[in-house]
Symmetry: C2
């Protein structure tokens, strides 16, 4: 799988025996990204067989403890294991002070650089891009400033039809043009059309992470048509009042968002500790949006 | 058991599959005390079947993360579970800022009071006493200021010999005097001797916690004759250089301290992640001090 999401924690504020607090590992075209880092994430990473030291980007949605209390421990472990490659952390502005204070009082000097990129939970923004991947943030609606994230594959190159190229005798200099979908004019002035020598590229996939948030259609423009959407569903409709009071979503609401945004597949997580099973979540989400899964810790999804 | 120690984490800075970072639960005469609180302690407490909400005193030895990164998560969980009883936290002065900052940025208002008692890692001090228990701190020698802890049962009352009392016809008003070991003079001026009406009280037990520290005989006056001593043994003599450089102790050194302080039993813990087994630790400690155990997570010891 070149683009996958591993659920490291599917629970809400109160960890249970089976649901640890929020964290997800995203592998996208050789990029290794961690979203949120609740307490115990480093242990979950080890149990999942993920190579901790490959992670270079850490995205923190907001500063409720179940989304970041494991961060400084994770960074300490990276250091103890001899890391020298830098880590970039995207999160609320106070996060830098929290992390640096804890490193400082422990006289811990990390062997790698930490770069903090402050997020304010109020705007859509491209956070990172290279030739393989783009990371965007967009605002969620929760009790404190909270950031959603969108991870997209960059448009892929077209594949060359080797036989057509050989038979035509077009110069190999044309190949990079064709891969990008551009036509190529040779020395004699003849135009060779990319369409004749290439297959269309594989579709670029995208994944959106929305936790924590109340029901809000304001996120739809950012998550429209994503292949995979993770949306929190802390509660079900039975606890709709509680959802409203705590600015969380119900399973039905998450399905409504998925349906309106026409996403490919919906993952529900951040379940309150009160739920033993997933039946209630499925019963109210499936009629609204059929391709839905309630995630468990260590589930892996291909985007 | 009226006085017991439950090992919640027996590992060092790098957690392993079987050894979580430092934490211990001490039950002493109805008092519920937590020493250190590495990441994941709240999960270990649940797995051990300990009632989280009974804990009223939390002692933090020092501010290396493997001794306190689980604290703010533990407090959050206490709050979410509806706690209203206050908690007193004894630890390095910066701990209060670290905890309060994280609660503040999450807009978390705890439903119970937090009292911080600052420790400087430099002095012996009685931290708490009531009629059942005493908690003392004393200085260890580590890279940053670090506090050892001594938990002692208060001297117990003598038991009344009911038959002797009945036969003598001494007033029942004498009982509280006798329990305290005091003689009682009745209205006629006759003296009744406590020894004649009571059995000697059960011995008061004591437990000392020493982690993290290099070998230092300076702690011996504080831990002399304790019934149970936990002393860190991050390394063995094979890694003596590493122990020296990091200001940790070897298993042999811990045994030497136990032997010189004439303690009842020695527990070794805080093992470096490099050790799979405990043989090397036992091989070098037992010849020096025979009554030694290398602890594992979830071990329970009667003091």
């Amino acid at each position: 799988m070149s683009f996958s999401v591993t659920i490291l924690g599917s629970g809400a504020a109160l960890p249970t025996a089976h649901r640890k607090p929020t964290s997800q590992y995203i592998f996208c075209n050789e990029r290794h990204i961690l979203i949120d880092c609740g307490e115990g994430t480093q242990t979950q990473i080890r149990k999942a067989g993920i190579k901790l030291q490959k992670i270079t980007h850490i995205l923190i949605s907001h500063l409720h403890g179940d989304h970041y209390f494991g961060l400084v421990g994770l960074l300490s472990t990276m250091h103890l294991l001899g890391r020298d490659q830098g880590v970039t952390i995207y999160g609320p502005v106070e996060l830098e002070q929290i992390v640096r204070l804890q490193l400082e009082v422990g006289h811990a000097k990390l062997g790698f650089s930490l770069t903090f990129v402050p997020l304010n939970g109020k705007e859509h923004k491209l956070l990172f891009e290279d030739k393989l991947v783009e990371i965007h943030t967009f605002p969620l609606k929760h009790k404190i400033p909270t950031n959603g994230f969108l991870i997209k594959e960059k448009p892929k190159e077209r594949s060359i039809i080797g036989e057509a190229l050989r038979e035509s005798g077009v110069s190999l200099m044309a190949v990079p043009f064709f891969r990008r979908g551009e036509d190529f004019t040779d020395e004699s002035g003849e135009i060779h059309y990319a369409d004749d020598y290439t297959y269309a590229p594989k579709a670029s996939k995208s994944y959106a992470f929305c936790s924590d948030t109340r029901y809000t259609e304001s996120i739809i423009p950012y998550i429209q048509d994503v292949d995979l959407l993770y949306h929190e569903a802390t509660f079900t409709e039975k606890e709709a009042d509680r959802a409203k009071a705590t600015m969380h979503a119900t399973a039905k609401q998450a399905a409504q968002i998925a349906q309106k945004a026409q996403v490919g597949k919906l993952l529900l997580g951040h379940l309150s500790a009160r739920f033993d099973g997933v039946e209630a979540h499925l019963a109210e989400s499936k009629p609204v949006f059929d391709n839905v899964v309630v995630v468990n810790d260590f589930d892996v999804f291909e985007v």
